[in-house]
Every structure is written in C-alpha cells, then in structure tokens.
Symmetry: C2
Subunit: 261 residues, 2 copies
Amino acid sequence: MAATSTSSGTVQKALHVLDIVADFKRPVRLNEIVSVSPYPKGTLYRMLQTLRTEGLLAYDEYSNEYSLGMRLVRLAHSAWSQFSLAPIARAHIDGLSESIDETIHLAQLEASQVLYVDKRNAKRPVQMYSQAGKIGPAYCTGVGKAMLAFLPEAHLESILAQQSYHAFTQKTLDSKTALLSALEQIKSQGFAFDDEEHEPGIICVATPILTSSNSVVGAISVTATTARTTLENLKSYVPKMQETANNIAQSAEHWRSPAEH
Amino acid sequence: MAATSTSSGTVQKALHVLDIVADFKRPVRLNEIVSVSPYPKGTLYRMLQTLRTEGLLAYDEYSNEYSLGMRLVRLAHSAWSQFSLAPIARAHIDGLSESIDETIHLAQLEASQVLYVDKRNAKRPVQMYSQAGKIGPAYCTGVGKAMLAFLPEAHLESILAQQSYHAFTQKTLDSKTALLSALEQIKSQGFAFDDEEHEPGIICVATPILTSSNSVVGAISVTATTARTTLENLKSYVPKMQETANNIAQSAEHWRSPAEH
DNA sequence: TTATTCGTTTCAAATAATGAAATAGAATAT
DNA sequence: ATATTCTATTTCATTATTTGAAACGAATAA
C-alpha cells in the first residue's frame, strides 16, 4: 500500500514529463520521450504542447526538439530567494571565501539529495562538477554526509532508504552499513570529509549548519584537488568553517527549513 | 480576442497558482490565495496539496503557509545550463569582468521581459543562475533597450505592445513613442544607456549580442552608480564590451535561441 | 459558552484527459 | 519523379479526473 504512485493526476504526469526532458540533459524529440515514458504518443504530444505554450519547455521548430524552458528559471528565482539558505548565508560565505582561497559550497537537503544553493570559486577556479542549483548524492559528498550525520533517527532512516549507493569511485561508501558507521564518526568529530568518494582527485571538508535546537538546515564545504593538497591540510579550515556555520545558523534561526515536514 | 485565457487545462491552472504564490514574494496561506484567484476554495486546496506533494511548493505546517519549492530550483538548473546563454558566455564574461571592475550582467529576452541569466559583481566572482533568474522590464533597462533596438520590426511591435511603461523614475521613457526614438538612436550608435530610468542613482551601458545574421541573442551591461561615475565614463567600456559581445555571438552561432519562435 | 474564521472533506455533475488508429508531412531511398 | 519509411499531428468515443457548493471540523476569539 505504500510504494508506487497511482498513475492519477494530470499535474503529476506533466511533472514527470518535465523530469524526463531534464534527465536527457540535451534537447530531445517526441519519439525519444515516447521510448522512455509510460504514456502513449498522442497523450505525450498533447502534454508537450501544453508545457511548451506555458513556457515550461522550449521548442525548436527546425529540429523538433524540446528543452526545459526559461519560465522555470523565473519561478526558481523566487523559490531560491525565499526558501534557500543562500540569501541569508551570503554575507557569511563571502567572509569565509575571503579567508579561504578554495572552492566553497553551501548546500541543503532536498528530496533526499544534496542541493547546492551557493558557491564561491577560488581565485584559480577548478573545473569541476557542481554549480548552484545542481543536485548531488547525499551519501558520498562531504556536505551530504555532514547533514545526514546530524539528522534525527527517523528522518535519517527514510533518507538512507532512498539512496542509490552507486560506487562513483573505488572509495565510495556504497552500502548503508558503511555509511552509518562513517556518520557516527562524523557526528562525534563535528565535520565530514569527502575522500574522493564522489569524484576522483576531488576532496573536501564539510561542516553542518545546525540551529540552536540542533536541527540541520544545511552544510558548507571547502573543496580542493588531491594534486594540490591533502585532507589533513583541509582539516585546518574546520574551525573557521564551524564559526561561519554558527553565524549562518544564528541568522537562520527564524528561517523555517522547507525540509521540516 | 487577445486578452484573457480560456479557463481550460489543469496544467495551466496549476501554473497560474504557482505564479500567484510567486507574486506574493513571501509565504502565503490558503485564504490569501483564494482572495486573489478565480478558483473556489476547495479546488485551490486540492491544487495546493498536489503542488506540495510534488515539491513545487513548500509548506510550513505550523503557519499553514505555502512558498515555492526547491524542486523548481532543480529543474531550473537544467533549463539554465541548457538554454541560457550563460554557459556559453561564461568565459567571455569572466574575461570582461577582469578588465572592468564594475557589475556586469548578461541578459536575454524572455516573454517580453529582460531575464538576467548571469552576473559578475565587481569583487566576488560568482557564477550561478540564482541571482540571475531575476526579471526586469525591457523598456527601461540598458540590456532591454539594447536588445529591442536590434529586433526585427514585427517582433518588436508585439513586444512593445506588452510593455507596461510604468515610470519608475522621472527619467523613465514611459511611452512607446519616446521609446521608439530612443531605440533608433541606439541602433545607429550600437549601444544603449540606462540613465537612471529604472532606479535612481543607477546608470549603465549595454551592448547587444548579435549573431552573424544580425539576430539578437542577448545583451551585456556594465552598471555603476551616479555617485561614483558618469555615463560619459561608462562609454569608454563600450569597445571592450562590443568585442566581448562579438566573441559570445561567435560561440553562440550554433546555439538556438529559445526566443526564436 | 457562542461566534467566527480557516482548513478539510464530500459527492454528483461537469469537463478535461486518454489512447488506438487514421492522417498528414518530411526525409530518405529507389 | 515515385515509393518508402520515418515522424508528428489530429480524431473521437470512452474514461477518469477535476470541479465546486455546501457541509464539516478544528481552532481561536469574544
């Protein structure tokens, strides 16, 4: 009685189609969508038209390809400015960025995944995966683990159950048990590492952002490459990061996290 | 014949509700939405539930308030990275930002308005769609006028008809005729000014980004305050901006603008 | 207590979405 | 030029979701 969603709901269907288009990460044609969706062609066609005229999809008449539309960007701006930590944390992150010349991320949990909501590049930016708005796995990123470690048990359970545990690298913690023991250590030491668990050559330290009642609102991380530094070195940033996290938490005290159900 | 929308379509309705929530720019309760929407309470209630469980809206159980949800941020990231000029223009904007220590914007036309898709602040280098995503009026911003001036006549007409011509400041060109003559001059000189037409104390220069076939794909601007500089000074940036715009256009030559219908 | 306000549920009626199959249109092959 | 093979689009009777007035319940105020 719990698992799959009932097929009902026009809005659900439309969202599903949007997700499909998003997953392609490139413009797609009707037939490509047909082949990966449960809906018949006629239905999909009409749905795509609707999404297109509403501006949720962009359409190229010459190639007959659909992509996500800019109306989403407009809508997301409102969501981001109201409901992400980014506006609240901005000044604090700026400060941290001035004293640490590495890539800094601000992330939140969203739908059991990590959502990067802000980012500062080092002066010499490293070309890597991740930008604000990007999502990543919770179980094998620094920010993800930092947040998971401080979640109340019930919430943690439900999130862990939804992880894919894909082994991105040889070092990925690709099982729930491995992850759980890592989380325990993170909780006791107060910060998390990512030791090339998501991308080879990329390491980071992350600290959670906790309110006075110890609920997790986000995390910040400092990222670097193994070519240039070590985890041990990154560790020296932790005190400054924790101070920043505390300051953000204080500013966010009266801000209500969308993750709280 | 042109104005109001037919009431049909579940997706349309859902989007309308999202827009209403977005327009409040703060969390809102059911009854507030009821008072500004054409739908009865029961209908709205169910719609909000749907949007909420889909993650398009966030909900605070204690205050019963809805806000835009972070799923939009996730979706928008795909839209932004595929369909905005930003990823293509990034390196070029970075370069420009290094030689000009002022705020730089990259904008596109979207639904007859200006959509800022990237931004560089004088000091901190950030690239993300989040502070981008903001929309502004086309008729009284530098980037807006720069783009309008180079639009084909038919397209321009339809866009001009949709402007609100609100006089934000005393200097705002608040009529179609005033705007049209300004556009003519912009077209002949190749760049546009914003002389405090949108915000008092804020001035900017903007140049259009034109493909080899002279179609408008976007615009870049350099913004400053009257307290610190003058339009005459800003003008000196124009050659560099035009060079950058040309380079972006070259990179974007094979990129298809969503605005082309 | 009694009003009042707001959120939630109900259920028959109204309406929008469905999908199999036919049609139109484009591109490629013969 | 004509046939062939894709793909996109339309049709229409059927199906199922959405609708909305009104009733209900919960919470707060008077």
